[in-house]
């Protein structure tokens, strides 16, 4: 907070017309510059520093130690041993690949289906508000509840197997949650089902920003539906698409509750994702140092992916008005 004091330029609105001597005036002015904003900002910011920023730094620090939870026990400095251990840990790579698979099979469907529903819904109609609510319902429902629900639907004698059996005539019952790949299918299905409403909502808002004049001009020029979509709609919703993609990728790497509830990483750790593996290392095996190293690795991956997408997706054709569409 101390760097607030250094400069003495007055706050925008906080100046009272007062006559004071030059020296005292300097101090008074200084006082008036930082005191009001500090009083507004300090309470929340202190909590933020203590509960978010400090743990952030501590996570980095802990990852370099063989951290002992027991009072009195000394924690040994390991340097990068925890990171090297992760690199040589096949279970870490399995968890990483499961997280990657989850991302690959949930992000594109959410974008495509979300955009599809938004395109179908964008024109005002009496049914629009109802559909919007129905598609958004899974988004507001808690992860625990929907995970239990999908565990039930994908149970051996559950609704999904019944539907496959009865409607499609598949004769073999699938034990969905007892095998790595089918369990991942169930977990991904939940991710997509729960997320479509969110991307739909973002795309709906972005579609409101598509310039009507351009659309009409394209019609006059004889462009068909698909050409209009590519030439007018896509550039206008491009920023929203970037935003949705980045958020979904981050969300994909953050998958936790659904895996924990549906398979608890099983069978035999085969469906463990990065966060459940990190959580297990820390709170089941009480290996806080290794858990922190995994958390740091995951954070770096998320940051790197976000930065990569921002560079990849930069579209020179996006007009300023299109960029404004998502704001």
């Amino acid at each position: 907070m101390t760097d607030l004091v250094r400069d003495a330029s007055g706050p925008k609105l906080a100046r009272h017309p007062q006559r004071v001597s030059r020296q005292a005036g300097g101090a008074m002015k200084l006082w008036r510059t930082w005191l009001p904003p500090a009083l507004f900002i300090a309470p929340g910011f202190l909590i933020f520093l203590v509960c978010i920023v400090y743990p952030m730094l501590q996570a980095a620090q802990m990852s370099l130690f063989d951290w002992k939870l027991v009072a009195g026990a000394t924690s040994n400095f390991l340097g990068f041993d925890n990171y090297i251990r992760a690199f040589n840990d096949p279970r870490f790579w399995l968890a990483l690949s499961n997280s990657g698979i989850y991302m690959a099979f949930t992000v594109p469907p959410q974008i495509i289906l979300g955009l599809g529903v938004a395109l179908l819904l964008k024109d005002k109609s009496p049914a629009q508000p109802l559909f919007r609510v129905l598609y958004y319902l899974p988004v507001v429902t808690s992860w625990v509840v929907v995970s239990l629900l999908f565990k039930y639907l994908f149970a051996d004698r559950g609704l999904i197997n019944f539907a496959l059996d009865d409607l499609l005539g598949a004769t073999d019952k699938i034990s969905w949650l007892a095998d790595r790949w089918t369990a991942l299918v169930a977990i991904c299905a939940l991710g997509v089902w729960k997320g479509i409403g969110w991307s739909m909502m973002i795309f709906l808002a972005a579609l409101q920003g598509v310039p009507k004049e351009l659309e009409e001009a394209a019609v006059i020029d004889g462009a068909n539906r698909w050409q209009r979509f590519l030439a007018v709609t896509v550039p206008a919703i491009w920023p929203a698409t970037i935003f949705v993609t980045i958020m979904l990728v981050i969300g994909g790497f953050n998958v936790f509750a659904s895996v924990l509830v549906m398979t608890n990483g099983g069978p035999g750790g085969a469906t463990e994702v990065l966060l459940t593996y990190m959580y297990r290392q820390a709170f089941e095996f009480l290996d806080f140092g290794y858990g922190s190293a995994l958390a740091v690795i995951l954070t770096l991956i998320v940051f790197a992916l976000s930065a990569l997408q921002l560079t990849l997706f930069r579209n020179p054709e996006a007009t300023p008005s299109a960029r404004r569409a998502v704001r």
Binding site: G44, V53, L153
Partner: protein, 273 residues
């Protein structure tokens, strides 16, 4: 109705059916006795329907207690987080001081860090504070976790408010706090509503942190209590879904009432439900 329009309606209705069927099936199962929950072929209409699951959840179990815990934690955290965020947002929006951008950027960093990354050091911090296994332990960290996003959301709104009103009040001799409390806050009501709803939902549904620090049953919140109904074998699905229905009713009520604010909140920034 043109064929294209009816086709569109059919597609939308089919999708909506896929979205809603799991909920309806959950509702149906919550009225089934244990011997019927995994019966083949599945019952869509419970036969015979029973209220015993709700009876056990509402009357005999501790779910009333968990519900109160959840409500207490969510309401307190939301009130504190929104108030503190509004103050910070006002401080960042209305005043110019050196270091302002730097501090705000630090806050944005907090927005990018996934909450789960901090769970290990936060656990140690909570232990040091002596708030493990307590509702205050939940509240403190829920408030902290929701500050960055809300401040970000509200700062934009405060910046868009015209400065003239503020200046007029200042000339009338109103102090900093009065200008914030009786001018800026009432004007920011729509943005405050958005912040309140999102924070409430996030804290009502929060699972990982509560799972980590809560150990005694009397301090459990609803998500934990429901997840713990999952037995090692032979889960009482009727019971699970009766409890789930009770837990999601407030959420659906809030959502239906404040729908409009959802759209605003989503488009204002990076809010993910």
């Amino acid at each position: 109705m043109s064929p294209a329009r009816s086709l569109r309606l059919v597609a939308l209705a089919f999708g909506a059916l896929l979205m809603v069927t799991p909920f309806l099936y959950m509702l149906s199962t919550s009225f089934k006795g244990q011997q019927y929950v995994l019966k083949l072929p599945p019952q869509f209409i419970p036969d015979p329907p029973t209220l015993s699951n709700y009876e056990r959840i509402l009357l005999r179990g501790d779910f009333g207690h968990y519900f109160v815990n959840s409500l207490l934690v969510a309401v307190t955290s939301t009130a504190l987080a929104v108030l503190l965020s509004a103050m910070m947002a006002y401080g960042f929006a209305r005043y110019r001081f050196p270091g302002r951008e730097l501090l705000f950027r630090l806050l944005l960093l907090g927005l990018m860090i996934p909450a789960m990354m901090l769970i290990v050091p936060q656990f140690l911090l909570a232990k040091w504070f002596g708030v493990l296994d307590s509702l205050p332990g939940l509240i403190i960290f829920y408030v902290a976790g929701n500050l960055a996003l809300n401040t970000f959301l509200l700062r934009g709104f405060f910046e868009a408010l015209p400065g003239e009103l503020d200046q007029a009040m200042q000339i009338d001799g109103a102090g900093h706090w009065r200008r914030f409390w009786s001018l800026a806050l009432p004007l920011a009501r729509p943005a405050l509503a958005t912040a309140t709803i999102f924070t409430f939902l996030a804290t009502w549904d929060e699972f990982a942190w509560a799972l980590t620090i809560i150990t005694t049953p009397e301090n459990q919140t609803l998500p934990i209590a429901i997840a713990l109904l999952l037995g090692p074998k032979g889960t009482q699905w009727g019971l699970v879904f009766a409890a789930s229905i009770i837990a999601i009713l407030p959420v659906i009520a809030v959502f239906l009432t404040f729908q409009r604010h959802f759209v605003q909140g989503l488009t204002a920034g990076s809010v993910k439900g």
